[in-house]
């Protein structure tokens, strides 16, 4: 067979799988978003009502805006905190050596841990009666000892953010260590010889060189933060009330608990829009790398 035909045949199965498992659901979700779409009402999945679902989300549903707000704060906090901590840890671990290498090896563990399990373990640690944090603050800072972390709206959000940051710091750190390794040694040394302080070297030499990797990390983490579901479900299930209800959780709840498939599909599509911009930005970085 000629390569010209073969090359298309080789990608065909993969393209088909991607189409069926990802493209079709996107299109079908778009269609559903314009229907009445009640799970318990036969025929309502083909009953069209125009932009009604979208208008409903925008103008009639404070819970929708609440989840947008929660997701926005959550994303800002997790992306910011994870990036800052990961950068610090990467600078600390990058030089290598025995202690640092074994520390780097440990960083793989949270990736292997199911996000649902991370949620469970944080719920466990923040238990007000016998949780680890309860005991910890009992010794270090007694006023915080008997706080019911997960019963307070703000603190619950803080705990969810903490669990996320804990789970993602390792991955970002490993990426940034890789990025630091590609910062040329001699530029750094030249700056040091010229008498630049550690902070100046970092700010004027290391950081600019690291910028592309940092951008990749921030985009990627933003995408994952926006999608967050697993930990939230296991840790707080959106509560107390709707204080930690992210968009994914809101969509899940409306679609699966209330059977409003049409409405939740419209919210789901609203969520896809920021993803398109982020993916575009990310793809640009991937292909810039591939062209080199």
């Amino acid at each position: 067979m000629r390569d010209n035909t073969l090359k298309y045949l080789l990608v065909l199965p993969a393209v088909l799988v991607v189409f069926v498992t990802a493209i079709w659901p996107l299109i079908e979700a778009a269609r559903l978003s314009f229907t009445v779409g009640r799970l318990n009402r036969p025929g309502s999945l083909d009953q069209y009502l125009g932009w009604e679902n979208y208008l409903w989300a925008f103008f009639e549903e404070p819970a929708f805006w609440n989840s947008v707000w929660v997701t926005a704060i959550y994303t800002l906090l997790t992306v910011g905190l994870t990036t800052v901590f990961a950068l610090g840890l990467a600078l600390l671990l990058a030089p290598g050596g025995r202690l640092r290498s074994s520390a780097q090896a440990l960083l793989i563990l949270p990736f292997a841990m199911s996000p649902a399990l991370i949620g469970v373990s944080f719920r466990f640690m923040f238990n007000p009666e016998f949780g680890l944090f309860d005991a910890f603050f009992g010794i270090v800072f007694p006023p915080l000892a008997d706080v019911s972390w997960l019963a307070d709206p703000q603190l619950a959000l803080a705990v969810v953010v903490m669990a996320d940051v804990w789970g993602w710091i390792p991955f970002l750190t490993l990426v940034l260590i890789g990025g630091l390794a590609s910062v040329p040694r001699d530029t750094v040394e030249a700056a040091q010889v010229d008498g630049a302080s550690g902070w100046r070297v970092f700010k004027d030499v290391t950081l600019p060189q690291l910028a592309p990797v940092l951008a990749v990390v921030v985009i990627l983490k933003s995408i994952f933060s926006l999608k967050t579901f697993d930990q939230v479900f296991m840790l707080t299930n959106g509560g107390p009330g709707t204080a930690t209800q992210t968009l994914s959780h809101y969509i899940y709840f409306n679609g699966m608990k209330y059977g409003q498939i049409g409405y939740s599909a419209s919210v789901a599509w609203l969520m896809v829009i920021p993803m398109i911009f982020l993916t575009y930005a990310y793809a640009k970085f991937v292909f810039r790398k591939a062209d080199q």
Binding site: V17, A112, S114, S121, F124, M256, F285
Partner: protein, 275 residues
């Protein structure tokens, strides 16, 4: 203070910071490990020293929890998912790597982009369809949707590995009269084997830990391990010792697998944006 002393103090501070960071990284994991070996009474007291028991591990496999069934489901689903995904992804990755095609960039970007589609968007239409054709609560249904999250990673990761294999051996074999398919089978596959294994393990971990699809699609027969965590609720709330034992069963095998592919973890997660 001399410069040397300054350096020593600075070094000591760094070492301390590293140790603290490692401690924070390990605490939630250690906490689960400890609780899994505690008896029901000890869990509710913050003891660091206690008589370890293996009882939790046998309780979770008994009625009514039957974690063994979930373990089997998770294993089958994750395994069959990669059994489909890796060969399909390998063929595509080879083609993307070696040929230039019309629409190649568009295809690659689309594949990359599907990875970023929120899982909750994908699952709504699948839930409706599976309900209509009777695939709800089946392992087959779960395998199908798992392909959605695994394929983009697999294609991009394997493409990265094949890009790294020099083309001259292939060209020499073609000159000697081998066909393209023979070249793929006899030359590319053996050389790419470690990369394929790495990608398979990476995808296995992702499929194993997958939560949202299984939560929505399964309720009894096809329940996987992460969803099984929801079982351990008693009348007075969570049964932490059992939850922890189940947690170990979920994460311990993945720790081993993850350590095996440690070097390629970053490349896999970023789909080649960072190497």
């Amino acid at each position: 203070m001399t410069g040397k002393q300054k350096k020593q103090i600075f070094g000591a501070i760094q070492t301390a910071l590293i140790l603290i960071a490692m401690f924070i990284m390990l605490v939630p994991i250690i906490w689960i490990f400890l609780a899994a070996f505690k008896s029901h009474v000890d869990v509710y007291q913050l003891k660091l020293f206690f008589t370890p028991t293996l009882e939790n591990f046998s309780v979770v496999f008994d009625d009514p929890y039957r974690l063994g069934e979930k373990l089997l489901n998770s294993t089958i689903v994750a395994f069959v998912t990669i059994l489909f995904a890796i060969p399909i992804a390998t063929l595509a990755a080879y083609s993307f790597s070696r040929f230039s095609m019309r629409g190649e960039t568009l295809m690659l970007v689309t594949i990359l982009a599907t990875q970023f589609v929120p899982a909750v968007v994908i699952i709504l239409p699948f839930f409706v369809m599976f309900r209509d054709i009777g695939l709800l609560d089946t392992r087959l249904g779960l395998i199908l949707v798992n392909l959605a999250i695994v394929m983009p990673f697999a294609i991009w990761m394997i493409k990265g590995f094949i890009d790294g294999i020099p083309m001259d051996t292939e060209e020499a074999a073609m000159v000697d009269g081998s066909s393209r398919l023979q070249v793929i089978r006899n030359i590319v596959l053996p050389m790419a084997a470690p990369g394929l294994l790495t990608s398979a393990i990476f995808c296995f971990i992702i499929a194993w830990n997958e939560f949202l699809f299984a939560l929505i699609l399964t309720n009894k027969d096809a329940v996987t391990l992460p969803i099984g965590l929801g079982l351990f609720k008693g009348e007075e709330g969570d049964l932490w010792n059992l939850l922890s034992a189940a947690g170990i069963i979920i994460m311990a095998p993945m720790f081993v697998l993850a350590l095996m592919i440690r070097k390629y973890f970053v490349q896999g997660m970023t789909m080649g944006a960072v190497r």
